[in-house]
């Protein structure tokens, strides 16, 4: 069937750019400049471009910066969205409605327009050019969807569980942390995915907020590396692309189901 052939062509087109670059990253530039489709020969293959990217190209430092930012944001969002999602789902408290409305407002607002105003506020807070200046806004803008997902997970739990725990004399805190939270492990990993992906690849805000190259995250560091190809050569830039893509590809291959489910849930809720 035509469609059957087409999906193979499209799969080829999907993989080709990254595969080509991955092969090329291991060869001297001159080989592809002479013939882009020449096959690699074993004598000239080398991982030097990766060493150059890591050391002289500072990719090692960029990975460190990104790791700190991503890990902190994921941890913060998980804790805060569990709390807020639970509160909106199960507790009655003053400010509940306002919270719901604000969460939806952040979720629906076109964030790209906020870049300049956020820059002005970051300047006033003295948070420009710092990891914290990335962590706080990334947390703020990944929270709303996470809260929605957590809230619907808590909504789905049977009320009896909570009633029983309260009758047993559990404090409200313990009902939340020791009873409710352990019942939503699926949502915790899903939110983890949905926060990790956009924060790992975020470019524009980091590009605006960071000035010194020693604070760069991987996406800006990568573009910086590519801009310096005169200095390092094309294959070092290619090596950088492979390195920046590696974490998400590994995550996809390790947890295909979880990944695809997270993307679907994120789309439907968001």
């Amino acid at each position: 069937m035509l469609g059957g052939a087409f999906i193979w062509v499209w799969a080829f087109l999907s993989l080709l750019p990254l595969l080509w670059v991955a092969v090329q990253s291991l060869r001297p530039d001159i080989e592809f400049l002479v013939d882009p489709w020449s096959l690699p020969s074993l004598d000239t293959l080398s991982v030097d471009s990766y060493l150059t990217a890591f050391v002289e190209g500072e990719m090692a430092a960029y990975f460190g910066n990104s790791a700190v930012v991503v890990a902190t944001v994921v941890a913060l969002v998980l804790v805060l969205s569990l709390g807020a999602g639970y509160a909106l789902s199960r507790l009655s408290f003053p400010g509940r409605r306002v919270t719901s409305v604000l969460v939806l407002a952040v979720l629906t607002f076109p964030g790209a327009i906020l870049l300049l105003p956020m820059f002005l506020v970051s300047y006033e807070l003295g948070l420009l050019n710092s990891a914290l200046g990335l962590i706080i806004p990334y947390t703020t803008f990944t929270l709303p969807l996470s809260i929605l997902l957590m809230k619907s997970a808590f909504d789905a739990l049977p009320e009896d569980v909570f009633a029983a725990a309260r009758i047993d004399g559990c404090s409200e805190w313990r009902v939340f942390w020791n009873i409710a939270v352990p019942l939503v492990p699926g949502s915790i990993s899903m939110v983890g995915f949905l926060v990790f992906m956009p924060v790992w690849e975020e470019f524009l805000w980091a590009f605006i907020a960071l000035r010194d190259s020693e604070r760069f995250t991987v996406p800006i560091g990568l573009v910086f590396l590519d801009d310096n190809k005169v200095l390092y050569g094309y294959n070092v830039g290619f090596a950088g692309m492979v390195l920046a893509a590696a974490p998400v590809i590994v995550a996809l291959l390790v947890s295909q189901r979880g990944f695809l489910r997270a993307v679907t849930a994120g789309a439907v809720k968001g």
Partner: protein, 313 residues
């Protein structure tokens, strides 16, 4: 908005157990306080600041000076700025390219997965890769592919004897938006495929079975069995793709920075360039609000369609 229902407080506890309302109130406030603080600092405050700044001819950091006050002047200028409307039109062009790719190619691919074509598990993952690649990687990959002479596209075309291998894919205003649009669609097709595939899983098997038994052609099956079931899903995908086409501009920015000239500058990117290329902070803020209002007029319609699809999924 339409999703209010999804997040509004769930009905109060009706079980009659003696929960301690003051303790609940305390915990509730405690649990949402950090979220409210963050939203206050990085959403409400920036909005308020942007509105203040939009009333001034403001180009620097710090407090705007009183004699730079222009009232609604920046808004009047924005509404009369042909570049704003041109940039919104470019959003529409990107949305059209992305829609065509996502709906047509996404449906064809999803149907192959649904038919469990040989190797479908591998294909699903392979096709999905462009969607999860960091946007900077996508942009740099394709910036290289489109590079004149040594880029993969030009050099391959020259090798095949098509053209002279010196096409400036990203350097010609007429070509650049289609070159970028193709890449944008390339990243959205897998996403559309996945959602449509999930939608197709709801097609009742008895229905396809009996249609086949009665000797219905593949075309009839698609038209009368598959399409009605996935129609709401297609609307959902369409809505999500349009929203994405208006919201983000990072791919465009890394590939062309909005150029050549303004030929790939979308609306949000236009405010960005006004702000960070020309330091026109006041004007850029006003532009931002105008664009937010324009989107708010388009989005409720889209959100309605979205909800129709989401309910069914």
């Amino acid at each position: 908005m339409t999703r209010v229902a999804a997040v509004l407080p769930t009905r109060r506890r009706a079980d009659g157990s003696r929960a301690d309302p003051p303790a609940q109130r305390r915990l509730g406030v405690l649990l949402v306080a950090p979220t409210l603080l963050l939203i206050g600092v990085y959403f409400l405050w920036p909005l308020a600041r942007a509105f203040q700044v939009s009333l001034y001819e403001y180009t620097g950091l710090g407090s705007p000076a009183a004699d730079d006050f222009v009232g609604l002047g920046n808004y009047a200028r924005a509404l009369a700025d042909p570049e704003l409307w041109a940039s919104l039109a470019r959003n529409l062009l990107f949305a059209a390219i992305n829609l065509a790719g996502a709906l047509v190619i996404g449906s064809v691919l999803a149907y192959q997965l649904y038919r469990k074509i040989r190797g479908w598990r591998f294909l699903q993952i392979a096709v999905f890769i462009p969607h999860i690649l960091p946007v900077a990687v996508v942009a740099l990959l394709w910036r290289f592919i489109y590079q004149p002479t040594i880029g993969l596209l030009d050099s391959s075309m020259a090798a095949l004897g098509i053209g002279d291998g010196t096409t400036l894919w990203l350097g010609e205003p007429a070509l650049a938006s289609f070159a970028v649009g193709f890449v944008w669609a390339w990243t959205l097709v897998p996403f559309a495929m996945l959602i449509i595939f999930v939608g197709m899983l709801r097609i009742p098997e008895e229905l396809t079975e009996s249609a086949r038994l009665e000797g219905a052609s593949e075309a009839k099956l698609l038209r009368h069995v598959v399409l009605p079931v996935i129609a709401p899903t297609l609307w959902l995908v369409a809505a999500l793709v349009v929203v994405a086409s208006f919201r983000s501009f990072d791919l465009v920015y890394i590939m062309t920075a909005g150029g050549p000239g303004y030929s790939t500058t979308t609306a949000a990117l236009y405010t960005y360039r006004q702000a960070f290329e020309f330091n026109a902070y006041g004007y850029a803020s006003a532009l931002g609000f105008v664009i937010a209002v324009v989107l708010a007029l388009i989005l409720p319609f889209i959100a309605r369609q979205m909800r129709r699809g989401a309910i069914e999924l």
